[in-house]
């Protein structure tokens, strides 16, 4: 099961986002904030953090902090423009649609596994992210599933943090 909602954040929401990202020990009831960023000339765009480890039942909130661009958070799932499945089979897909500056979108994750997502207008520029929910089994089959999926731009494939890096650091940033 997955719950998604869309909202507009004010300044205080942004400050909370910054504070929560700086905490290494993420509790299940805390909202994990992911910022959508971009350079002022649009030459580079990214999710920050790009990789997070969360617990089942935890909410992730994406917010567009880029004043000159729109972004989406869109799961790799056949329901979204026929894209390859790169989230657990039993999990529900999500697509925020375009978020203008200061708008946000939230999803609560309950199924364990690896979730890959992207930004619709910026996938070819490598704007992707990865969320790991729970503890992964040693041979959970996720690697085989990811390896089998194709049709992603090289820039997107190169940008994903590895599962090992996310498991080790809990929060992976590429700024």
């Amino acid at each position: 099961m997955m719950v998604a909602r869309r909202e507009v954040l004010g300044l205080w929401g942004g400050l909370v986002a910054v504070l929560s990202l700086s905490r290494r020990d993420v509790r299940a009831e805390e909202v994990v904030e992911i910022r959508m960023h971009g350079r002022s000339d649009g030459s580079h765009v990214w999710f920050d953090p790009i990789g997070v480890l969360i617990k089942p039942g935890q909410m992730v909130r994406w917010t567009n902090f880029n004043p000159g661009n729109s972004h989406t958070t869109t799961a790799y799932h056949p329901a979204n423009f026929g894209r390859p499945l790169r989230i657990p089979e039993s999990a529900k897909s999500w697509d925020s649609d375009y978020l203008l500056p200061d708008e946000s979108f939230s999803v609560t994750f309950t199924e364990q596994g690896v979730y890959d997502y992207y930004c619709v207008p910026h996938e070819q520029a490598g704007m992707v992210g990865r969320i790991i929910v729970g503890e992964l089994e040693a041979h959970g089959g996720w690697m085989e599933a990811l390896a089998a999926s194709s049709g992603l731009p090289d820039e997107a494939l190169k940008a994903f943090p590895t599962v090992e890096e996310i498991m080790a650091k809990r929060i992976v940033r590429r700024v």
Partner: protein
């Protein structure tokens, strides 16, 4: 004789260019130009560029006409997908209705609604570099 014939032709061409520039000098430009923020979900005023208008039939290249907060035309922008910059593709006869060009900027853009792929912005500035500040925020 040829020179005498060229004089009125050049004068007419120059007059037509001036007329075209007058038609787009202030926001909003006449149809077929449309406000980009009403065509796709983008902020109406883009920091660094301004308020954009485009004829949808010319996408993705444009021209996009960019205006400052006072509705003055500051630049004409062409958006050229990087995948189309190859031996088999060219962009010919792109219209340039904005009049005199002060200087030109060329830079990479990762994409945005409307041109959802990496592309190059070719910006013909109709104002001095110092006046680009009018669309900075």
């Amino acid at each position: 004789m040829k020179k005498l014939f060229l004089v009125p032709v050049l004068t007419l061409t120059s007059s037509l260019c001036a007329m075209a520039a007058d038609e787009v000098a202030k926001s909003p430009p006449a149809a077929p130009y449309q406000q980009v923020s009403k065509l796709v979900k983008l902020p109406d005023f883009l920091p660094g560029m301004g308020q954009l208008f485009v004829d949808p039939a010319t996408l993705p290249a444009g021209p996009f006409l960019a205006y400052d907060h006072d509705g003055k035309l500051v630049s004409t922008i062409y958006m050229l997908p990087t995948k189309d910059l190859n031996p088999d593709k060219s962009f010919d006869n792109l219209s340039a209705p904005g009049g005199n060009v002060d200087h030109v900027d060329v830079y990479y853009n990762a994409g945005h609604p409307g041109v959802e792929e990496p592309h190059v912005h070719v910006v013909l500035w109709h104002v001095a570099a110092a006046d680009e500040a009018s669309v900075a925020k």
